[in-house]
Protein backbone atom coordinates (compact mmCIF):
# COMPACT_ATOMS: atom_id res chain seq x y z
CA UNK A 1 0.00 0.00 0.00
CA UNK A 2 2.81 2.34 0.91
CA UNK A 3 4.55 1.53 -2.35
CA UNK A 4 1.33 2.24 -4.22
CA UNK A 5 0.95 5.57 -2.46
CA UNK A 6 4.56 6.44 -3.33
CA UNK A 7 3.91 5.45 -6.92
CA UNK A 8 0.81 7.61 -7.10
CA UNK A 9 2.67 10.56 -5.60
CA UNK A 10 5.51 10.07 -8.09
CA UNK A 11 3.08 9.93 -11.00
CA UNK A 12 1.28 13.05 -9.76
CA UNK A 13 4.62 14.87 -9.54
CA UNK A 14 5.66 13.63 -12.98
CA UNK A 15 2.44 14.26 -14.87
CA UNK A 16 1.56 17.76 -13.76
CA UNK A 17 -1.25 19.55 -15.57
CA UNK A 18 1.30 21.75 -17.31
CA UNK A 19 3.27 18.80 -18.63
CA UNK A 20 0.10 17.05 -19.74
CA UNK A 21 -0.92 20.21 -21.62
CA UNK A 22 2.50 20.40 -23.29
CA UNK A 23 2.28 16.71 -24.26
CA UNK A 24 -1.23 17.25 -25.63
CA UNK A 25 -0.04 20.25 -27.67
CA UNK A 26 2.91 18.30 -29.06
CA UNK A 27 0.56 15.41 -29.91
CA UNK A 28 -1.83 17.76 -31.76
CA UNK A 29 1.02 19.32 -33.73
CA UNK A 30 2.47 15.90 -34.55
CA UNK A 31 -0.98 14.71 -35.66
CA UNK A 32 -1.38 17.77 -37.88
CA UNK A 33 2.09 17.25 -39.32
CA UNK A 34 1.13 13.66 -40.08
CA UNK A 35 -2.43 14.11 -41.28
CA UNK A 36 -2.39 17.38 -43.23
CA UNK A 37 -2.29 16.81 -47.00
CA UNK A 38 1.22 18.08 -47.61
CA UNK A 39 1.67 18.67 -51.35
CA UNK A 40 4.49 16.97 -53.19
CA UNK A 41 7.07 19.46 -54.32
CA UNK A 42 10.37 18.78 -55.95
CA UNK A 43 9.45 19.65 -59.56
CA UNK A 44 12.62 20.23 -61.63
CA UNK A 45 13.56 22.88 -64.15
CA UNK A 46 12.46 21.79 -67.62
CA UNK A 47 13.81 22.51 -71.08
CA UNK A 48 11.72 24.98 -73.06
CA UNK A 49 12.84 23.39 -76.34
CA UNK A 50 15.15 20.76 -77.66
CA UNK A 51 18.78 21.42 -76.80
CA UNK A 52 21.87 19.63 -78.01
CA UNK A 53 24.70 18.37 -75.84
CA UNK A 54 27.05 21.27 -75.19
CA UNK A 55 24.25 23.87 -75.16
CA UNK A 56 24.87 26.67 -72.74
CA UNK A 57 21.83 27.09 -70.46
CA UNK A 58 20.31 30.50 -69.95
CA UNK A 59 17.17 31.77 -68.21
CA UNK A 60 15.19 31.87 -71.46
CA UNK A 61 15.94 28.24 -72.27
CA UNK A 62 14.62 26.93 -68.96
CA UNK A 63 11.09 26.73 -67.58
CA UNK A 64 11.20 27.35 -63.82
CA UNK A 65 9.30 24.75 -61.80
CA UNK A 66 6.16 25.72 -59.93
CA UNK A 67 7.08 26.56 -56.36
CA UNK A 68 4.63 24.55 -54.28
CA UNK A 69 6.41 23.99 -51.00
CA UNK A 70 8.83 25.91 -48.83
CA UNK A 71 11.52 23.37 -49.69
CA UNK A 72 10.88 24.17 -53.39
CA UNK A 73 11.64 27.82 -52.74
CA UNK A 74 14.88 26.98 -51.01
CA UNK A 75 15.85 24.38 -53.64
CA UNK A 76 14.88 26.24 -56.82
CA UNK A 77 17.13 29.21 -56.13
CA UNK A 78 20.17 26.99 -55.65
CA UNK A 79 19.25 24.76 -58.57
CA UNK A 80 18.92 27.73 -60.90
CA UNK A 81 22.45 28.83 -59.97
CA UNK A 82 23.72 25.31 -60.69
CA UNK A 83 22.07 25.23 -64.15
CA UNK A 84 22.28 28.68 -65.70
CA UNK A 85 25.58 29.33 -67.56
CA UNK A 86 26.42 25.63 -67.48
CA UNK A 87 26.65 23.19 -70.43
CA UNK A 88 24.46 20.19 -71.12
CA UNK A 89 26.23 16.85 -71.24
CA UNK A 90 23.46 15.23 -73.28
CA UNK A 91 20.67 16.37 -75.61
CA UNK A 92 17.43 17.31 -73.86
CA UNK A 93 13.97 17.25 -75.47
CA UNK A 94 11.47 20.05 -74.96
CA UNK A 95 9.70 19.61 -71.63
CA UNK A 96 12.24 17.18 -70.24
CA UNK A 97 13.69 17.82 -66.81
CA UNK A 98 17.06 19.51 -66.67
CA UNK A 99 18.84 18.47 -63.52
CA UNK A 100 22.12 19.63 -62.02
CA UNK A 101 23.76 16.31 -62.89
CA UNK A 102 22.94 16.93 -66.57
CA UNK A 103 25.30 19.88 -66.75
CA UNK A 104 28.98 20.70 -66.47
CA UNK A 105 30.85 23.96 -66.12
CA UNK A 106 32.58 23.34 -69.47
CA UNK A 107 31.16 21.60 -72.55
CA UNK A 108 32.10 18.02 -73.34
CA UNK A 109 33.48 18.16 -76.88
CA UNK A 110 33.09 14.79 -78.54
CA UNK A 111 35.34 15.48 -81.51
CA UNK A 112 39.11 15.72 -81.62
CA UNK A 113 39.34 18.69 -83.95
CA UNK A 114 37.57 21.89 -82.86
CA UNK A 115 37.80 25.18 -84.70
CA UNK A 116 37.01 28.28 -82.65
CA UNK A 117 35.28 31.25 -84.17
CA UNK A 118 35.46 34.57 -82.32
CA UNK A 119 32.16 36.31 -81.55
CA UNK A 120 31.93 40.04 -80.90
CA UNK A 121 29.34 39.84 -78.14
CA UNK A 122 27.40 37.39 -76.06
CA UNK A 123 25.01 35.64 -78.44
CA UNK A 124 21.30 35.23 -78.08
CA UNK A 125 21.37 31.75 -76.58
CA UNK A 126 18.01 30.77 -77.98
CA UNK A 127 19.30 31.30 -81.49
CA UNK A 128 22.99 30.63 -81.42
CA UNK A 129 23.92 27.71 -79.24
CA UNK A 130 25.21 24.18 -79.53
CA UNK A 131 23.35 22.46 -82.42
CA UNK A 132 22.75 25.67 -84.42
CA UNK A 133 23.75 25.49 -88.07
CA UNK A 134 25.70 28.51 -89.29
CA UNK A 135 27.29 29.89 -92.44
CA UNK A 136 30.61 31.72 -92.49
CA UNK A 137 31.05 34.66 -94.78
CA UNK A 138 34.30 36.44 -95.50
CA UNK A 139 34.17 39.68 -97.48
CA UNK A 140 30.74 38.89 -98.95
CA UNK A 141 31.90 35.45 -99.99
CA UNK A 142 30.32 32.37 -98.53
CA UNK A 143 33.22 30.36 -97.22
CA UNK A 144 31.35 27.71 -95.19
CA UNK A 145 27.80 27.00 -96.38
CA UNK A 146 26.79 25.03 -93.28
CA UNK A 147 28.64 24.24 -90.09
CA UNK A 148 27.25 22.87 -86.86
CA UNK A 149 28.11 24.70 -83.62
CA UNK A 150 29.45 22.32 -80.95
CA UNK A 151 29.44 24.84 -78.10
CA UNK A 152 29.92 28.50 -77.33
CA UNK A 153 32.34 29.31 -74.55
CA UNK A 154 33.57 32.49 -72.88
CA UNK A 155 36.91 33.69 -74.16
CA UNK A 156 38.19 36.08 -71.51
CA UNK A 157 36.62 39.41 -70.62
CA UNK A 158 33.47 39.91 -72.65
CA UNK A 159 34.57 37.75 -75.59
CA UNK A 160 32.97 34.52 -76.73
CA UNK A 161 34.02 31.75 -79.07
CA UNK A 162 31.82 29.44 -81.08
CA UNK A 163 33.39 26.01 -81.38
CA UNK A 164 32.76 24.01 -84.52
CA UNK A 165 33.94 20.64 -85.69
CA UNK A 166 37.11 20.87 -87.76
CA UNK A 167 35.56 18.66 -90.45
CA UNK A 168 33.01 21.37 -91.23
CA UNK A 169 35.59 24.05 -91.86
CA UNK A 170 38.44 24.04 -94.36
CA UNK A 171 41.78 25.60 -93.39
CA UNK A 172 41.22 28.74 -95.51
CA UNK A 173 37.55 29.16 -94.67
CA UNK A 174 38.14 31.96 -92.17
CA UNK A 175 40.36 34.00 -94.47
CA UNK A 176 43.57 35.64 -93.32
CA UNK A 177 44.05 36.95 -89.78
CA UNK A 178 43.30 40.45 -91.07
CA UNK A 179 39.89 39.52 -92.43
CA UNK A 180 36.81 39.63 -90.30
CA UNK A 181 34.58 36.64 -91.00
CA UNK A 182 30.87 36.91 -90.28
CA UNK A 183 28.64 34.23 -88.81
CA UNK A 184 25.10 33.75 -89.96
CA UNK A 185 22.66 31.39 -88.34
CA UNK A 186 20.71 29.40 -90.89
CA UNK A 187 19.11 26.80 -88.66
CA UNK A 188 18.16 26.73 -85.03
CA UNK A 189 19.13 23.70 -82.99
CA UNK A 190 16.80 20.80 -83.61
CA UNK A 191 17.00 17.09 -83.03
CA UNK A 192 18.43 14.65 -85.53
CA UNK A 193 19.87 17.34 -87.77
CA UNK A 194 23.51 16.66 -88.51
CA UNK A 195 25.81 19.06 -90.31
CA UNK A 196 25.61 18.68 -94.09
Amino acid sequence: MRLLAHGQAWLRALFTAGRVMVLAYVAVIAALAWLLPWPEGGAPYRALRWMDAGARLSEELLAAPAVVTFEDRLRVRGERARLVNHYLTQPVAAGDPVLPHHVLAWPLLRTDEVVPFELEAEPNWSVLNAGSTVQIWVDDALKVPAARVLAIVPAGGTGWQALRAGSDVKPDSLGTPKTKPQLRVINLPRPGRAAP
Partner: protein, 406 residues
Protein backbone atom coordinates in the same frame (compact mmCIF):
# COMPACT_ATOMS: atom_id res chain seq x y z
CA UNK B 1 19.38 56.96 -40.87
CA UNK B 2 18.45 54.57 -38.08
CA UNK B 3 20.64 56.38 -35.55
CA UNK B 4 18.99 59.71 -36.47
CA UNK B 5 15.61 58.11 -36.14
CA UNK B 6 16.48 56.61 -32.77
CA UNK B 7 17.72 59.99 -31.51
CA UNK B 8 14.43 61.55 -32.61
CA UNK B 9 12.53 58.65 -31.12
CA UNK B 10 14.13 59.24 -27.74
CA UNK B 11 13.05 62.85 -27.96
CA UNK B 12 9.42 61.77 -28.10
CA UNK B 13 9.60 58.56 -26.08
CA UNK B 14 11.69 57.57 -23.10
CA UNK B 15 14.72 55.36 -23.56
CA UNK B 16 12.84 52.75 -21.57
CA UNK B 17 10.22 52.61 -24.35
CA UNK B 18 12.95 52.34 -26.96
CA UNK B 19 14.70 49.50 -25.10
CA UNK B 20 11.69 47.69 -23.71
CA UNK B 21 9.30 47.82 -26.66
CA UNK B 22 10.76 49.41 -29.80
CA UNK B 23 13.90 47.28 -30.07
CA UNK B 24 12.10 43.96 -29.56
CA UNK B 25 9.45 44.94 -32.10
CA UNK B 26 12.07 46.17 -34.60
CA UNK B 27 14.15 43.00 -34.15
CA UNK B 28 11.18 40.72 -34.69
CA UNK B 29 9.94 42.78 -37.64
CA UNK B 30 13.35 42.45 -39.31
CA UNK B 31 13.61 38.76 -38.44
CA UNK B 32 10.13 37.99 -39.74
CA UNK B 33 10.84 40.10 -42.81
CA UNK B 34 13.92 38.01 -43.53
CA UNK B 35 12.09 34.72 -43.05
CA UNK B 36 9.29 36.05 -45.26
CA UNK B 37 11.82 37.05 -47.92
CA UNK B 38 13.02 33.47 -48.10
CA UNK B 39 9.63 31.81 -47.71
CA UNK B 40 7.10 34.01 -49.50
CA UNK B 41 7.50 34.81 -53.16
CA UNK B 42 5.03 37.70 -53.08
CA UNK B 43 6.83 39.34 -50.17
CA UNK B 44 10.19 38.82 -51.85
CA UNK B 45 8.88 40.42 -55.03
CA UNK B 46 7.49 43.38 -53.04
CA UNK B 47 10.79 43.90 -51.17
CA UNK B 48 12.77 43.66 -54.39
CA UNK B 49 10.48 46.13 -56.15
CA UNK B 50 10.09 48.65 -53.33
CA UNK B 51 13.35 48.49 -51.38
CA UNK B 52 16.20 46.55 -52.92
CA UNK B 53 15.72 47.43 -56.60
CA UNK B 54 13.85 50.70 -56.14
CA UNK B 55 15.12 54.23 -56.56
CA UNK B 56 16.64 55.99 -53.55
CA UNK B 57 13.48 58.05 -53.05
CA UNK B 58 11.19 55.03 -53.16
CA UNK B 59 13.47 53.08 -50.83
CA UNK B 60 13.53 55.92 -48.32
CA UNK B 61 9.77 56.32 -48.45
CA UNK B 62 9.10 52.60 -48.01
CA UNK B 63 11.67 52.18 -45.24
CA UNK B 64 10.32 55.20 -43.37
CA UNK B 65 6.78 53.89 -43.67
CA UNK B 66 7.88 50.50 -42.32
CA UNK B 67 9.79 52.05 -39.39
CA UNK B 68 6.78 54.21 -38.52
CA UNK B 69 4.59 51.10 -38.61
CA UNK B 70 7.05 49.30 -36.34
CA UNK B 71 7.03 52.28 -33.96
CA UNK B 72 3.24 52.23 -33.81
CA UNK B 73 3.20 48.50 -33.14
CA UNK B 74 5.89 48.99 -30.47
CA UNK B 75 3.69 51.64 -28.85
CA UNK B 76 0.78 49.20 -28.77
CA UNK B 77 3.11 46.55 -27.32
CA UNK B 78 4.28 49.03 -24.69
CA UNK B 79 0.69 49.80 -23.80
CA UNK B 80 -0.13 46.13 -23.48
CA UNK B 81 3.02 45.48 -21.43
CA UNK B 82 1.32 45.18 -18.06
CA UNK B 83 -1.44 42.95 -19.42
CA UNK B 84 1.02 40.69 -21.22
CA UNK B 85 3.13 40.40 -18.06
CA UNK B 86 0.09 39.62 -15.95
CA UNK B 87 -0.91 36.85 -18.34
CA UNK B 88 2.54 35.30 -17.86
CA UNK B 89 2.01 35.69 -14.12
CA UNK B 90 -1.02 33.44 -14.53
CA UNK B 91 -3.73 36.05 -14.02
CA UNK B 92 -7.01 35.68 -15.90
CA UNK B 93 -6.31 32.06 -16.80
CA UNK B 94 -9.55 30.85 -15.28
CA UNK B 95 -9.90 27.07 -15.14
CA UNK B 96 -6.55 26.45 -16.83
CA UNK B 97 -4.85 28.41 -14.07
CA UNK B 98 -6.52 26.27 -11.43
CA UNK B 99 -5.16 23.17 -13.18
CA UNK B 100 -1.62 24.50 -12.96
CA UNK B 101 -1.70 25.54 -9.32
CA UNK B 102 -1.21 22.04 -7.80
CA UNK B 103 2.19 21.67 -9.46
CA UNK B 104 3.31 25.02 -8.07
CA UNK B 105 1.91 24.06 -4.67
CA UNK B 106 3.86 20.81 -4.75
CA UNK B 107 7.02 22.73 -5.62
CA UNK B 108 6.46 25.06 -2.70
CA UNK B 109 5.59 22.17 -0.41
CA UNK B 110 8.75 20.30 -1.39
CA UNK B 111 10.78 23.41 -0.64
CA UNK B 112 8.98 23.90 2.67
CA UNK B 113 9.61 20.27 3.69
CA UNK B 114 13.26 20.55 2.77
CA UNK B 115 13.48 23.76 4.76
CA UNK B 116 11.85 22.07 7.73
CA UNK B 117 14.20 19.08 7.50
CA UNK B 118 17.25 21.35 7.41
CA UNK B 119 15.88 23.31 10.38
CA UNK B 120 15.56 20.01 12.27
CA UNK B 121 19.12 19.16 11.32
CA UNK B 122 20.30 22.52 12.63
CA UNK B 123 18.46 21.85 15.90
CA UNK B 124 20.08 18.42 16.12
CA UNK B 125 23.49 19.81 15.29
CA UNK B 126 23.08 22.36 18.09
CA UNK B 127 23.72 19.35 20.35
CA UNK B 128 27.10 18.77 18.74
CA UNK B 129 29.01 20.52 21.57
CA UNK B 130 27.45 17.98 23.96
CA UNK B 131 28.70 15.11 21.79
CA UNK B 132 32.15 16.68 21.77
CA UNK B 133 32.01 17.14 25.55
CA UNK B 134 30.90 13.58 26.01
CA UNK B 135 33.83 12.30 23.97
CA UNK B 136 36.23 14.52 25.94
CA UNK B 137 34.79 13.29 29.24
CA UNK B 138 34.97 9.67 28.06
CA UNK B 139 38.58 10.21 27.04
CA UNK B 140 39.46 11.48 30.52
CA UNK B 141 37.50 8.65 32.17
CA UNK B 142 39.22 6.04 30.01
CA UNK B 143 42.68 7.35 30.82
CA UNK B 144 41.78 7.46 34.49
CA UNK B 145 40.10 4.03 34.71
CA UNK B 146 42.20 2.07 32.19
CA UNK B 147 45.70 3.56 32.18
CA UNK B 148 48.02 2.07 29.59
CA UNK B 149 45.22 0.04 27.91
CA UNK B 150 45.23 0.26 24.13
CA UNK B 151 41.92 -0.05 22.29
CA UNK B 152 41.62 -3.13 20.10
CA UNK B 153 39.65 -2.19 16.98
CA UNK B 154 37.20 -4.78 15.74
CA UNK B 155 37.37 -5.93 12.15
CA UNK B 156 35.46 -4.59 10.37
CA UNK B 157 35.44 -1.40 12.38
CA UNK B 158 31.95 0.24 12.34
CA UNK B 159 33.42 3.65 13.22
CA UNK B 160 35.95 3.46 10.41
CA UNK B 161 33.13 2.48 8.05
CA UNK B 162 30.95 5.36 9.24
CA UNK B 163 33.80 7.86 8.81
CA UNK B 164 34.57 6.52 5.34
CA UNK B 165 30.96 7.33 4.44
CA UNK B 166 30.83 10.73 6.16
CA UNK B 167 34.13 12.21 4.99
CA UNK B 168 33.43 11.93 1.22
CA UNK B 169 30.18 13.81 1.82
CA UNK B 170 32.17 16.58 3.45
CA UNK B 171 34.67 16.64 0.58
CA UNK B 172 31.80 16.78 -1.95
CA UNK B 173 29.99 19.55 0.02
CA UNK B 174 27.01 17.29 0.57
CA UNK B 175 24.64 17.24 3.47
CA UNK B 176 25.77 15.23 6.51
CA UNK B 177 22.99 13.88 8.71
CA UNK B 178 23.16 14.76 12.38
CA UNK B 179 21.94 11.30 13.38
CA UNK B 180 24.95 9.61 11.78
CA UNK B 181 27.29 12.06 13.48
CA UNK B 182 25.65 11.54 16.86
CA UNK B 183 25.74 7.74 16.56
CA UNK B 184 29.41 7.78 15.56
CA UNK B 185 30.28 10.22 18.35
CA UNK B 186 28.47 7.99 20.83
CA UNK B 187 30.39 4.94 19.61
CA UNK B 188 33.73 6.73 19.86
CA UNK B 189 32.85 7.94 23.39
CA UNK B 190 32.00 4.37 24.41
CA UNK B 191 35.33 3.18 23.09
CA UNK B 192 37.28 6.00 24.75
CA UNK B 193 35.84 4.99 28.12
CA UNK B 194 37.41 1.54 27.83
CA UNK B 195 41.00 2.53 27.04
CA UNK B 196 43.83 4.98 27.51
CA UNK B 197 43.70 7.32 24.55
CA UNK B 198 47.46 7.91 24.79
CA UNK B 199 47.87 4.27 23.82
CA UNK B 200 45.09 4.28 21.18
CA UNK B 201 46.31 6.59 18.39
CA UNK B 202 43.85 5.28 15.76
CA UNK B 203 40.88 5.93 18.04
CA UNK B 204 42.17 9.42 18.76
CA UNK B 205 42.55 10.06 15.07
CA UNK B 206 38.98 8.86 14.47
CA UNK B 207 37.76 11.33 17.10
CA UNK B 208 39.61 14.17 15.38
CA UNK B 209 38.28 13.15 11.97
CA UNK B 210 34.75 13.10 13.33
CA UNK B 211 35.34 16.52 14.86
CA UNK B 212 36.17 17.94 11.43
CA UNK B 213 33.01 16.44 9.89
CA UNK B 214 30.89 17.83 12.76
CA UNK B 215 32.40 21.30 12.26
CA UNK B 216 31.64 21.09 8.53
CA UNK B 217 28.05 19.98 9.16
CA UNK B 218 27.44 22.80 11.65
CA UNK B 219 28.79 25.33 9.18
CA UNK B 220 26.91 24.00 6.18
CA UNK B 221 23.45 23.48 7.64
CA UNK B 222 22.70 27.17 8.42
CA UNK B 223 24.05 28.22 5.02
CA UNK B 224 21.81 25.65 3.34
CA UNK B 225 18.88 26.80 5.44
CA UNK B 226 19.47 30.42 4.50
CA UNK B 227 19.71 29.47 0.82
CA UNK B 228 16.48 27.49 0.96
CA UNK B 229 14.73 30.25 2.87
CA UNK B 230 15.87 32.77 0.27
CA UNK B 231 14.62 30.48 -2.49
CA UNK B 232 11.29 30.21 -0.69
CA UNK B 233 11.01 33.96 -0.12
CA UNK B 234 12.09 34.87 -3.65
CA UNK B 235 10.11 32.14 -5.39
CA UNK B 236 6.79 32.20 -3.56
CA UNK B 237 4.50 34.61 -1.88
CA UNK B 238 2.93 34.02 1.49
CA UNK B 239 -0.55 34.39 0.02
CA UNK B 240 -2.21 32.27 -2.68
CA UNK B 241 -0.09 30.20 -5.00
CA UNK B 242 -0.09 31.49 -8.59
CA UNK B 243 -0.34 29.08 -11.55
CA UNK B 244 3.09 30.08 -12.91
CA UNK B 245 6.59 30.59 -11.53
CA UNK B 246 6.53 34.20 -12.63
CA UNK B 247 3.28 34.79 -10.79
CA UNK B 248 4.78 33.39 -7.62
CA UNK B 249 7.86 35.59 -7.97
CA UNK B 250 5.50 38.55 -8.39
CA UNK B 251 3.69 37.51 -5.21
CA UNK B 252 6.98 37.45 -3.32
CA UNK B 253 7.28 41.27 -3.55
CA UNK B 254 3.99 41.82 -1.77
CA UNK B 255 4.84 39.10 0.76
CA UNK B 256 8.15 40.72 1.58
CA UNK B 257 6.48 44.01 2.48
CA UNK B 258 3.81 42.21 4.48
CA UNK B 259 6.31 39.97 6.26
CA UNK B 260 8.74 42.70 7.19
CA UNK B 261 6.60 45.81 7.57
CA UNK B 262 2.99 44.56 7.62
CA UNK B 263 2.54 46.82 4.64
CA UNK B 264 0.22 46.24 1.70
CA UNK B 265 2.70 47.24 -0.99
CA UNK B 266 0.26 46.92 -3.87
CA UNK B 267 -1.79 49.66 -2.29
CA UNK B 268 1.02 52.19 -2.03
CA UNK B 269 3.07 51.15 -5.09
CA UNK B 270 2.07 54.14 -7.21
CA UNK B 271 2.85 56.52 -4.36
CA UNK B 272 6.21 54.84 -3.92
CA UNK B 273 7.00 55.34 -7.62
CA UNK B 274 6.12 59.01 -7.29
CA UNK B 275 8.50 59.33 -4.33
CA UNK B 276 11.17 57.40 -6.25
CA UNK B 277 11.04 60.08 -8.96
CA UNK B 278 12.67 62.47 -6.55
CA UNK B 279 15.73 60.24 -6.38
CA UNK B 280 17.27 59.95 -9.85
CA UNK B 281 19.48 56.96 -9.07
CA UNK B 282 16.71 54.94 -7.41
CA UNK B 283 14.31 55.74 -10.20
CA UNK B 284 16.86 54.82 -12.85
CA UNK B 285 17.63 51.53 -11.08
CA UNK B 286 13.94 50.69 -10.81
CA UNK B 287 13.21 51.57 -14.43
CA UNK B 288 16.29 49.72 -15.72
CA UNK B 289 15.15 46.54 -13.99
CA UNK B 290 11.58 47.07 -15.21
CA UNK B 291 12.77 47.75 -18.77
CA UNK B 292 14.83 44.55 -18.85
CA UNK B 293 11.78 42.67 -17.64
CA UNK B 294 9.57 44.36 -20.27
CA UNK B 295 12.12 43.51 -22.95
CA UNK B 296 12.11 39.81 -22.06
CA UNK B 297 8.32 39.67 -21.73
CA UNK B 298 7.96 41.38 -25.12
CA UNK B 299 10.41 38.92 -26.71
CA UNK B 300 8.49 36.02 -25.21
CA UNK B 301 5.18 37.18 -26.69
CA UNK B 302 6.64 38.24 -30.02
CA UNK B 303 8.30 34.83 -30.37
CA UNK B 304 5.02 33.10 -29.60
CA UNK B 305 3.00 35.25 -32.03
CA UNK B 306 5.63 34.96 -34.78
CA UNK B 307 5.83 31.18 -34.34
CA UNK B 308 2.04 30.94 -34.52
CA UNK B 309 1.89 32.98 -37.71
CA UNK B 310 4.67 31.03 -39.40
CA UNK B 311 3.09 27.73 -38.37
CA UNK B 312 -0.07 28.81 -40.24
CA UNK B 313 1.96 30.05 -43.22
CA UNK B 314 3.92 26.80 -43.43
CA UNK B 315 0.73 24.78 -43.12
CA UNK B 316 -1.24 26.70 -45.76
CA UNK B 317 0.64 29.20 -47.92
CA UNK B 318 4.01 27.55 -48.57
CA UNK B 319 3.45 24.08 -47.17
CA UNK B 320 6.36 22.36 -45.52
CA UNK B 321 6.06 19.69 -42.87
CA UNK B 322 9.54 20.37 -41.48
CA UNK B 323 9.08 24.16 -41.34
CA UNK B 324 5.61 23.71 -39.81
CA UNK B 325 7.02 21.47 -37.07
CA UNK B 326 9.97 23.81 -36.51
CA UNK B 327 7.73 26.85 -36.04
CA UNK B 328 4.92 25.09 -34.14
CA UNK B 329 7.26 23.31 -31.72
CA UNK B 330 10.50 25.32 -31.85
CA UNK B 331 8.71 28.68 -31.47
CA UNK B 332 6.96 27.83 -28.20
CA UNK B 333 10.18 26.24 -26.93
CA UNK B 334 12.04 29.46 -27.64
CA UNK B 335 9.23 31.46 -26.03
CA UNK B 336 9.53 29.24 -22.96
CA UNK B 337 13.24 30.06 -22.76
CA UNK B 338 12.38 33.77 -22.95
CA UNK B 339 9.81 33.17 -20.22
CA UNK B 340 12.41 31.48 -17.99
CA UNK B 341 14.78 34.39 -18.55
CA UNK B 342 11.96 36.83 -17.78
CA UNK B 343 11.15 34.97 -14.55
CA UNK B 344 14.77 35.25 -13.42
CA UNK B 345 14.75 38.92 -14.35
CA UNK B 346 11.55 39.30 -12.36
CA UNK B 347 13.52 38.15 -9.29
CA UNK B 348 16.04 40.92 -9.94
CA UNK B 349 13.24 43.40 -10.39
CA UNK B 350 11.66 42.15 -7.16
CA UNK B 351 14.98 42.70 -5.35
CA UNK B 352 15.16 46.25 -6.69
CA UNK B 353 11.51 46.91 -5.79
CA UNK B 354 12.03 45.64 -2.24
CA UNK B 355 15.24 47.64 -1.85
CA UNK B 356 13.39 50.72 -3.12
CA UNK B 357 10.69 50.25 -0.52
CA UNK B 358 13.31 49.65 2.19
CA UNK B 359 15.08 52.87 1.27
CA UNK B 360 12.16 55.16 0.53
CA UNK B 361 9.46 54.05 2.95
CA UNK B 362 10.07 56.93 5.37
CA UNK B 363 10.13 59.40 2.46
CA UNK B 364 6.82 57.88 1.41
CA UNK B 365 5.35 58.41 4.88
CA UNK B 366 6.69 61.94 4.83
CA UNK B 367 5.08 62.52 1.44
CA UNK B 368 1.82 61.22 2.92
CA UNK B 369 2.35 63.62 5.83
CA UNK B 370 2.35 60.76 8.30
CA UNK B 371 4.74 61.14 11.20
CA UNK B 372 7.81 58.91 11.11
CA UNK B 373 7.33 55.89 13.40
CA UNK B 374 9.47 55.57 16.50
CA UNK B 375 10.38 51.91 16.17
CA UNK B 376 9.68 48.73 14.21
CA UNK B 377 6.47 47.90 16.07
CA UNK B 378 5.22 51.44 15.62
CA UNK B 379 6.04 51.32 11.90
CA UNK B 380 4.12 48.06 11.46
CA UNK B 381 1.13 49.60 13.21
CA UNK B 382 1.30 52.62 10.90
CA UNK B 383 1.32 50.50 7.73
CA UNK B 384 -1.44 48.24 9.05
CA UNK B 385 -3.56 51.30 9.76
CA UNK B 386 -2.88 52.77 6.32
CA UNK B 387 -4.03 49.47 4.82
CA UNK B 388 -7.13 49.20 7.00
CA UNK B 389 -8.11 52.78 6.32
CA UNK B 390 -7.52 52.62 2.57
CA UNK B 391 -8.77 49.12 1.85
CA UNK B 392 -11.66 48.84 4.25
CA UNK B 393 -12.30 52.47 5.15
CA UNK B 394 -11.64 51.60 8.77
CA UNK B 395 -11.80 54.37 11.34
CA UNK B 396 -8.11 55.15 11.86
CA UNK B 397 -6.59 58.48 12.65
CA UNK B 398 -3.20 59.95 11.74
CA UNK B 399 -1.83 63.25 12.92
CA UNK B 400 -0.44 65.16 9.91
CA UNK B 401 3.22 65.99 10.18
CA UNK B 402 3.79 68.78 9.50
CA UNK B 403 0.22 69.90 10.01
CA UNK B 404 -1.50 71.47 6.98
CA UNK B 405 -1.36 75.25 6.78
CA UNK B 406 -4.57 76.86 7.86
Amino acid sequence: MLSTFLSQLQGYFSKYFVLGAFFPMLSFAVLNGLIGYVALGAWQAWVDANILNASAGETTFTTTALVVAVTLMAYVLHGLGTTLRQVLEGRSWGGVGRLLIPAQSRRREALRRRLQAVAMEIADLDDAPNWQNEMAAARDAGKRDHPGVAYAHPAPDPVATALSELEPKMLDFQEVEADSLQTTAQEIANRLRTCDFDHSPVLLEQQQRLGRVIAYARERAPALHAGLQNAMNAGFGAQDVAPTSMGNVANSIQSYALRRYHCNLELIWSNLLRVAQSDDKTQAMLLEAKTQLDFLVACCWLTLVSAGLWAVVFAVAVPSRAAFLASALGGPLLAWLWYRAATEQYRSFADVAMATFDTLRFDLLRAMRIAAPADVADERTVWENVDLMTTFGADRNFRYDPPPKQ
